[in-house]
Amino acid sequence: MIDPFQTLGVEARFDLDPDDLARRHRDLSRALHPDRYAGAPAAERRLSLSRAIEVNDAFRVLKDPIRRAEALLRRAGVPVGETAEPKPSPDLLMEMMERREELGDARRRKDLDAVRALAEAIRGREREVLASMGRQFAASDPDATKLAVVLPELGELRYLRRFLDEASAIEEELSS
């Protein structure tokens, strides 16, 4: 597995400066642009193209906090994915079930304001979880046993993301 941090030449940390990330992506993409290799030998053209794809993939991973966290955990040897992660807490499941049902009710009532208010509350939660994950990542050494403490929050982040995806689909549906 290619290390996306190395590909973009940024430090392997959770709190990345999004502007710096975008700048590095742009600079590398320019340097690897096919136009620059128009007269180069075929092997070099192929190499620059595969590097450009790698750079785009790495950018997509690092831009997304969930995938960035997964990449950091994998780097440290912490297994992520379906069977490896702790089960979500009953409180979180109960809350997400209730919020999703409220969202469904708001959709049936065609209550766009209610959908927006629910999404806004969850976005607030998402900001809190991201900040807390940033602190956890910063506080732990790249040590598998210590980094595993972020797994419950990573799980929570995925639940919040699912909610927000659903909410924006409904917002779009109700505003059209």
């Binding site: 992520v80 089960k87 499941l93 995925r158």
Partner: protein, 134 residues
């Protein structure tokens, strides 16, 4: 990824979507989730005094396979005794729905939900028996 016909059929016509009163002593509720995909599944059973599951309901927020797995589970649960219900394995659900390997965890979630609903029902019954004067 292509869903099997059976998954699509359950997804489009889910059976037994809804809620049972979780405070009813005859009702057992299972609430489970898959952290890697952000799915949440609630499965409820209503058990008669004779120990037969007379009703089952579910609500799942997740992918088509997770919805189909829980829908199928409620269909299978109705009319079974608790002991029979415990015999339902995720592999049976996966096989019936032709789930591909990457979606097997959806059937695991459904099995977890059944087990957790049964455990909730049993703990309610045990609590009832423990009450003095009954």
């Amino acid at each position: 990824m292509a869903y099997s016909e059976k998954v699509i059929e359950h997804y489009e016509n889910p059976r037994n979507v809804g809620t049972l009163d979780k405070n009813d002593e005859h009702v057992g509720t299972g609430l489970v989730g898959a952290p890697a995909c952000g799915d949440v599944m609630r499965l409820q059973i209503k058990v008669s005094d004779a120990g037969v599951i007379e009703d089952a309901k579910f609500k799942t927020f997740g992918c088509g396979s997770a919805i189909a797995s829980s829908s199928l589970a409620t269909e299978w649960l109705k009319g079974k005794t608790i002991d029979e219900a415990e015999q339902i394995k995720n592999s049976m659900i996966a096989e019936e729905l032709h789930l591909p390997p990457v979606k097997i965890h959806c059937s695991v979630l459904a099995e977890d939900a059944i087990k957790s609903a049964i455990a909730d029902f049993r703990s309610k019954q045990a609590a009832k028996k423990a009450l003095p004067g009954q």
